[in-house]
């Protein structure tokens, strides 16, 4: 890769927290409008993060801030792997490390709220990671490669070949963005269960790092969703934003469900949809 594209890739990767933050602002504005109220300004999440940065920080032990930065750092590495068009499995594993940093940091504090939040975060990971893995394997079967570059090289938009996989990924998006009905581990603002769930024991700059990391992960996932229409960047962004919007609508309609329901539904829907899709492709001759 030449210098220009390398720079673009690096900038895009480092910009994912900002993109995610803007999307979070859109999230809050749209949610407010759906509830017939004004809502905060679009850049509100950035005010929140700046305010948190300026506050005194209270930590449970000296490992916690390192792990909080780890969450952001590994999310950025995952974003970098996407922008540099690397292997999808590695992207999944790097976001896995980020999540483990978060749950370990949450379990560091001897607080029942934080602990149960961490436990539920594990269950959330257990729910969505296998489904993403199956989708990536389906992508491999279609494009012959596990890399993002391979998806671009494939030429045809993936959404036309693997539409059911995209639907399965909608469930994954809901869990990753921590939106109802699957925000069991620590919802975005305005909801209060287990106080703040997995985010309870963070404050000040560690909370700011966690917020930024969350946005980076969200933006990375949306970028991966956008890969389903790789040839055309406009439609690609449209797909990401459409699925983002669906998540918001679902969030405002559904109450929070139990973790057992999250696990069962995500696995059954995810596995069945992807399997059906692959079988259809085998019958249709796209996959041999």
């Amino acid at each position: 890769m030449n210098l220009i594209s390398t720079l673009i890739a690096v900038t895009l990767a480092l910009a994912t927290p900002l993109i995610g933050g803007l999307l979070a602002g859109v999230d809050r504005k749209l949610t407010a409008r759906m509830q017939e109220r004004m809502g905060p300004p679009l850049v509100q999440p950035f005010y929140d993060v700046l305010k948190l940065w300026g506050k005194e920080s209270m930590i449970s032990n000296r490992l916690q801030p390192v792990l909080a930065f780890g969450y952001l750092g590994f999310a950025l590495i995952a974003a970098g792997l996407v922008t540099f068009q690397q292997d999808l499995l590695l992207i999944l594993f790097m976001t896995g490390i980020a999540d483990i940093c978060l749950t370990t940091a949450a379990m560091n504090a001897k607080s029942p709220y934080s602990y149960i939040g961490g436990r539920r975060e594990f269950l959330a990971m257990l729910s969505y990671e296998p489904v993403m893995l199956i989708v990536y394997i389906a992508i491999f079967m279609v494009t012959g490669s596990f890399t993002v570059a391979g998806i671009y090289a494939y030429g045809k938009p993936l959404a036309m070949v693997l539409p059911l996989a995209l639907i399965a990924l909608q469930f994954v998006l809901v869990i990753e963005m921590k939106k109802s009905p699957y925000d069991v581990s620590g919802s975005s603002h305005a909801h209060q269960e287990l106080v703040r769930g997995v985010f309870t024991e963070f404050s000040g700059y560690t909370m700011a790092l966690i917020e930024l990391g969350h946005w980076a992960k969200m933006a990375t996932t949306l970028m991966i969703l956008g890969l389903f229409w790789a040839p055309n960047p406009v439609i690609s962004a449209a797909i990401s934003l459409a699925m983002f919007f669906i998540t918001l609508v679902v969030d405002n309609i559904y109450p929070r469900l139990t973790w057992q329901s999250m696990l069962k539904t995500t696995w059954s829907v995810g596995f069945i949809l992807v399997l059906l899709n692959v079988v259809a492709l085998v019958i249709g001759g796209v996959i041999i």
């Binding site: 920080s57 801030p65 930065f69 590495i77 292997d87 379990m107 001897k110 029942p112 934080s114 079967m141």
Partner: protein
Amino acid sequence: MTALVLIGSSIALLGVGEFTYNPGHIYETAVLVLDFALLFYFLYVGVKSKSLPVIVLSLLQLVPVAYFEFVVNGTHVQNIIVVDSLSILLTLIINIIGPIIIIYALSYMDEHEHHLNLKKSTQNRFFFFMILLLSAMNGLAYSNSLYWLYFFWEITTLCCYQLIRHDGTDEAKENSVQALWMGLVGGVGFIGAMFIAYNQVNSIALTDLIAAPEALGLVFALMTLAAFTKAAQFPWHGWLLGAMVAPTPVSALLHSSTMVNAGIYMLLRIAPAIQATPLSSVIALGGALTFAVTAVLAIRQSVSKKILAYSTIGNLGLITLCIGINTALSYTAAVTLLIFHSVAKGLLFMSAGIIENKIGSRNIEDWEGLLGRLPLTTTVMIVGMVSMFLPPFGMLLGKWVAVDALASSPLIIGLPLVLLVVLGSAATTFYYAKWIGYMTVTPNSLEKKKNEELENPYRLSIVGLLALNIVLSVGVTFVINRLVIPVISGAYPIVVSTTGLNIDLDFTSFPVFALWGGTVAVLLIGSWMASSKGGKLASPYMSGANVPGAFSKYRSTAGGEFDVSVSGVFLKSSIDEAALEKLAMIIGVVITVALILVEVI
């Protein structure tokens, strides 16, 4: 001293390369005599422990061996010692990890005997069998004759039996007999294989058998059976779980880094000969099911060594799966996983042993907050656990290659197996991550109660093995080029290559340098940020009911003061351990029957 000799000689062997050698006739006689002695000893053990399986299985070996040698005279082989890249790899693993564990055992056994208040030290017997095991493993790696291989195999079974019953408790004696008869099943498998091989091709030399595998299907099936018993795949997993009563160095040496590798070595050896056969598919299925079920079972365990045991069985299942798939890519994955698993598992068992000795408990619920109390050991343990399932470590590279191999194998086989691997990996992440979280919980008081005084052997062994783990993971290019590719070449096409520090497959690549660089950068920046911005140590949020002054005590409604206690996640309501164990036995029996049937029909 022994350690240096062993390590030095095996590295030298790497430099020398492959060779064959024929020891004189006197050695063959010696092996014969020793083998009969061994079998009579097993028979004696069976009678003394009143164990019918042991008696029957020993007789099943004794009589045929006598017949084979004296009537048929089939035990002679032309080239008995054949050292090829696979042998060199196995000896490297054994002779580097083994001595480190024995150094560790020097301190461990002292503390162990102190705990048990033994009047007379039994360490001599202990170390005799540990080193005998290392020698037997070396012999196993070099043997080309099926008879010699079987002999060394049975010596490892002997060592296993003696080491498990070392402490002499009733439970130890019972579990050692279980390990003994399961090992003897493997021995009987070898005998059967020898007979059939001699019958078919008039030779029991491995090189001959693998070069001309037609009509030898049943031979390989029986050898697979032996491999399964040694590698504790279903239904032979019981002995490994029971072996956890032994002192921890035994678990580290036998049940993670060396003896169970004998089973994997066997499978790796015969894999090129059984490519694209139904036997291979059965092996793959057995491995996959073992991996998935043990991963789920491990979530339910609260005894540290049991979790590690299930993890071992599971990872061996993953390696078995890769061997069973039997493509160039999956074989690469299997060898890579073997190397990194041995290093990481040995490390984990050693650290777990130290922690158990220092705090006196194996229950991970008592391991809360260890990072404050035993910083070095806990850090080593955490890094070891991270290296089992997270990038950028080598174990993940192996898993990544394995998933790639599964995805690129034929659909009918690949898809259901990949679902099992996905389930197993997810469960693996679950139980390791929660364990790590548990160990880093803030201790109950703000002052660190450090009571960690590690003796030098401890320090040397765990830091040494940890360093080896990290070096191998960073320099995985070297591992692939110098260790893995030589083993594959000749039998399979080379499908993995390296550019600089990155590993390349046909359709994807693993940017080792970028990932390690990124990880180190994140840790450094995070630590710098943590130390520069710091923060106030604060009590957890308890809805305001915190007791002032205490770090995590709260006041109940009646005014009493209670410690905050958080317990582990074992998903007791969702995972039925008994049902899964039954499932494991059923799977195991079906697989065993299938192994034999596919070659008989």
